[in-house]
């Protein structure tokens, strides 16, 4: 089980309360697809991903980004039980979606960068450290059921 200090929990939940999930989610997914173009391999049904502008404006990217980050919110709400929270999603990503878990780490780091861009100074080193831990734990939980 992951141990969170009271400070870490506060840093995470306080920031989360200010996050615009739709906006940050779509931005994080768009940046993943732009910065690491090979990740587009999972989204051949999404239509036009031919340029950064196309990706950012793509409605399927926006919708999916929001979906992904909304799900991330479940981790924030269940910090003491992240593995169980993501058990079914882990099976899905392995058995149906066939996603290499490395992609969870890539997206997690991109999310941290998006938070840094949105919150600036408020995203202190301590705040970043708590969030790095969270994205690492979420990535681990999502890969836990892989076989």
């Amino acid at each position: 089980m992951v141990h969170w200090t009271a400070e870490e929990k506060q840093l995470i939940t306080n920031l989360w309360g200010k996050v615009n999930v739709a906006e940050c989610g779509s931005e994080a997914l768009a940046r993943l697809l732009i910065v690491y173009p090979w990740t587009q391999r999972f989204f051949s049904s999404f239509g036009n991903l031919s340029s950064p502008t196309a990706i950012i404006g793509n409605p399927k990217v926006r919708a999916h980004g929001k979906k992904v980050l909304t799900s991330f919110g479940e981790a924030v709400k269940n910090l003491d039980n992240i593995k169980a929270t993501y058990a079914k999603l882990s099976e899905l990503h392995c058995d149906k979606l066939h996603v290499d878990p490395e992609n969870f780490r890539l997206l997690g780091d991109i999310l941290v960068i998006v938070l840094a861009a949105h919150f600036g100074r408020e995203f202190t080193p301590a705040c970043q450290a708590a969030w790095q831990k969270l994205v690492r734990v979420v990535a681990h939980a999502l890969s836990y059921k892989y076989h």
């Binding site: 732009i34 960068i113 840094a116 861009a117 600036g120 100074r121 450290a129």
Partner: protein, 114 residues
């Protein structure tokens, strides 16, 4: 970016037992400037990063021997700092270019390791 590195990835502190790593330390500030200076050299010689950082490459290979995984961690923290300081300039395209650029610098600095 160094306080972000040491807070988020404490294992990186093992390379600096001889440093005062408290925030605001003169040593940290000086070293951070050195790192940024080298990045600046790479920017100026972007079509020949290998040449521009040749000495640094040898330093890292034979003397410092920093495990390659740490270059990714540092690059990530540099990107976070840049994003936090210049949110309007740090568009997805700029982000992609910088990620690629820092990745290239990391490759150059580790290419003589073996």
């Amino acid at each position: 970016f160094s306080s972000r590195l040491f807070s988020s990835f404490p294992q990186t502190k093992t390379y600096f037992p001889h440093f005062d790593l408290s925030q605001g330390s003169a040593q940290l500030h000086g070293h951070g400037s050195k790192v940024l200076g080298a990045i600046g050299e790479a920017v100026k010689n972007i079509d020949n990063i290998t040449g521009a950082l040749a000495t640094l490459s040898e330093l890292h290979a034979y003397i410092l021997r920093v495990d390659p995984v740490n270059f990714k961690l540092l690059s990530h923290c540099i990107l976070c700092s840049v994003a936090a300081h210049f949110p309007n300039d740090f568009t997805p395209e700029v982000h992609a270019a910088w990620d690629k650029f820092l990745s290239q610098i990391s490759s150059v600095l580790t290419e003589k390791y073996r």
